[in-house]
Amino acid sequence: MGIRRRLKSWLSWFPWYRRRAREADLARELRDHLELEAEEQRAVGLTPDEAAHAARRALGNELQVEEDVRAAWGFMWVETLLQDFRYGLRMLRKSPGFAAIAILTLALGLAANTAIFSIVNGVLLRPLEFPHPSQLVTVELAVPQFARKFPVIPPNPASYVAWAHQAKSLAGIAAVEVGGSLNLTGRGEPALMNADSVSANLLDVLGVRLLLGRNFSEDADQPGRNHEVILTNALWRNRFHSNPGIIGHAIALNRIPYSVVGVLPASFHFFQGNQLMSVMGPTPKPELFVPEVFGKSDLAADAGFGIAAIARLRPGVSRAQATAELNVILSRLFRSQSFPLPYPTAVVTPLHGMIVRSSERGLWMLLAAVLAVMLIICVNLASLILTRAAAGEQEAAIRSALGASRGRLLRQTLAETLLLGLAGGALGLVLARWALWALLAMAPAGLPRLHNVRLDGVVLVFTLGISVLAGVAAGLLGAWRMARANPQDALRSASTRSTDRGAGLRAREAMVGIETALGAMLLIAAGLFLTSFAKLERAPKGFTVEHIVTLNLQLPSAEYTRREQRSEFWRRLLVTTAALPAVESSAVTSRLPPGGEIDDDPVNLPGDTRPIAERPFASYRYVSPGYFRTLEIPLVRGRRLTWADADTGAVVISANAAETIWPGLDPIGQKFDGDPGVLHVVGVVGDTRSVTLSKGPTPMVYALYGGGMTGSLIFRTRMPGAAVALELRRAIWRVDSSVAVPPVRTMGQIVSSSLAPRRFEMLLTSVFAVAALLLACLGIYGVVSYSVARRTHEIGIRMALGAQKMDVLGRVVGQGMMPALLGLGTGILVSLTLVRLLSSLLYGIKPTDPLIFGAVAAILCAVTLLACYVPARRAMRVDPMAALRQE
């Protein structure tokens, strides 16, 4: 074998070489054929020229033959695809402006989509990062009679212990008491740690392996053996400098030594209390875990409905089966302790669903909104392609006359838009990193599982999919028109002279319609969110927000064992802080507003035989006398509380409590059975939204703050929070230097963070709606101005025949507005059905609010009118003579 041959056979492994060899082969074969045929014809007596011509005629369309042979080679589809892409690239290079605009808009849209989807993916789609996450559930209770007020209530220790001992369908069940805090002392300044008290088996149920050390010992939930603590990774890093030697050492929590038994891995993320429990107000994530100990009094069947229960189902056990078994156990428990009928039943919810339940709807809504924006971008791109396709109709016609199949023409346009889509996707991914960064920066702190949000494989697949889809959708719309081009028609008439014909016009009108419809839907959603947010922000809270600074304190239990000691501490603290020049007034309360429904309890009137569920409910707060003055809650009747009311059962109630409990009666002096014994009403104060801002004021019962272990301090001050913080800390440490003083929070910050999820939804929806409006506007402008440019000749004729400028204007504007108005109507109709899905996200406004719908219609009309008017004015200025001379 010669060297050349060997080289050839070696080269033939490379597809590109094989292809070139084959192409050369085919060209030579056809050339040979033509020569042989020509030779034969010359032999018959034709001149060389005639012979060559006859040979060509006998062969037929040479390009077509080559194409057919290539098709016979089979692997050619890859080849033609590459060719199509090369052609697409060439076309894009020829019109860089078009390509740049297309890629940029696609990239912006894809960046927004990618960013929002990565949040949806990280929060909602990715399973929880525990082994077999689908087996994990939370268990709560439902009391049928409570259903109207509380769909579910938290379980109590008695039910938890019964389940833990008896349930066969559970691999394990753990109890969590959320929202506790402990003073860490002995290491520099005392610090208040967020601490959850948990049953010793929590980490086993979750399937979490510790980074260092061991889990709680099995008897750690026994009194006296519970002085063990497990640190989260962040706390271990920040407070203990990642020192592995800490295991086995004791740290002082509330001045009691707790032995550090374990450190959690950095990958472990626990949940906020309100994420684990339906009725809980916002509570921070724990920084450490200590064993939960249930005393005898906690274990009564009717006590302590306030813990969270996380369980793991046994493999193969369904939620329904588990629920049935837990219910059997519950009824046995409640019967044995003669609990009044009806018994509560278990509500088993997947843990993941529980964690994300309050953010789910908002996130899906945002994804839908951003996808709608993407759709508008696609339609705009399709409209651009269509415009260009119409301009390139002649080229397409010539190519199709030369033997290019319709499929090939379609493929070439598709290749071009696919390239645009992919380029946009690539650029979009780069932009998405910033978009995601910005989103995470503004995301509400309460949004669960944000640590999971990243641009991972699933997100990349999503972005790739959307880019390809966008490219294909835009290309199909544009190419469909081109492939329909009839070569003969197009060749015969110069297309710029024709009036706009059927299919193209209809396609463009449909696009305008789609854009307006989507724009209307997004604007309506944004309008609803904006109005709802504004109403919520302005809604009277019943207490002042300005100039209020708050602080949560926790007393060290080892030294404040007696109630009198604690009560003494709080009183001294209030006197000391009130004496500060910066502080106008101070107060302490058991829970800051908005505190959630956790303190809601029945108001038991004397002789009331109704079941608990049917009795009136109120939220109970324990406050110092200065509470009402500090928060400026007005006195309506009677008097405020004083320190002299200690242990007398005197309470102050809110006006709406008075109306609902004693309608038409004088509430002053009324008695009822409350938390500490018999209470009597001494005063009525104004209504407040102390439970949640997004619902109307809740009936309140305020009793005098006694000697709690924890309290929230409230100060009215004219100074900025940071400045007053230092003074407050010094004052508190003058009373007791071992009390941890956490950073202060202003009431404004608290209110703002409770509105954060709504602000997030509102802001993003508004951004998307404005983007949609701009894009739709551009789309309409493009379509109308293109149609005007194409019809210059026709308009010229009309004007030469005597049409007035205003007629022309009216005609062009009318033709542009018609599809827009149809789209607007459709958008409004679709919105009317879809907005119901938003009702749970809205406050103080009906989802079908006619004002919003009307305003959106008006805005869209005005904007589309403008988008039509600008190009229409150009039509008005057409010089008939110039237009006719173009002929």
């Binding site: 040979d32 042989l36 045929e37 037929g60 057919d68 098709a71 016979a72 080679w73």
Partner: protein, 118 residues
């Protein structure tokens, strides 16, 4: 011309053309031009084979493994031409197509000229 008719005819021609090519190659190797001429001559120019349609057919047959091709200098010639040759598989295919063809012709014949008429 309506599109549908057109595609029908091509479909019919394709199979027939393949068979004619295979039959031609039964006599020995031939290049494209020779095959075209042979078909034309043996059918007394009744079948006008568009030369162009021959090559896609040849490449298709080659891809199916029914023919092989090689650049050869013919006896007494001066330059190479691409010659096609029947493979054993091609021979089998020809036999199959021939019997199929006979059945088709016979059945059409029975319809067109029923035995009773003769």
């Amino acid at each position: 011309m309506p599109k549908k008719d057109c595609s029908n005819r091509i479909e019919l021609m394709k199979g027939t053309l393949d068979m004619l090519i295979l039959r031609t190659l039964l006599f020995g190797a031939a290049n494209g031009h020779e095959i075209a001429k042979h078909i034309q001559r043996t059918t007394d120019d009744v079948l006008q084979v568009e030369h162009g349609s021959l090559y896609p057919a040849l490449h298709r047959l080659e891809r199916r493994g029914w023919v092989v091709s090689k650049w050869e200098i013919p006896k007494g010639g001066k330059r190479e031409f691409k010659y096609y040759r029947l493979t054993p598989a091609g021979k089998k295919q020809l036999t199959a197509e021939r019997s199929e063809w006979r059945r088709l012709v016979a059945s059409i014949g029975r319809v067109m000229e029923p035995a009773g008429e003769g």
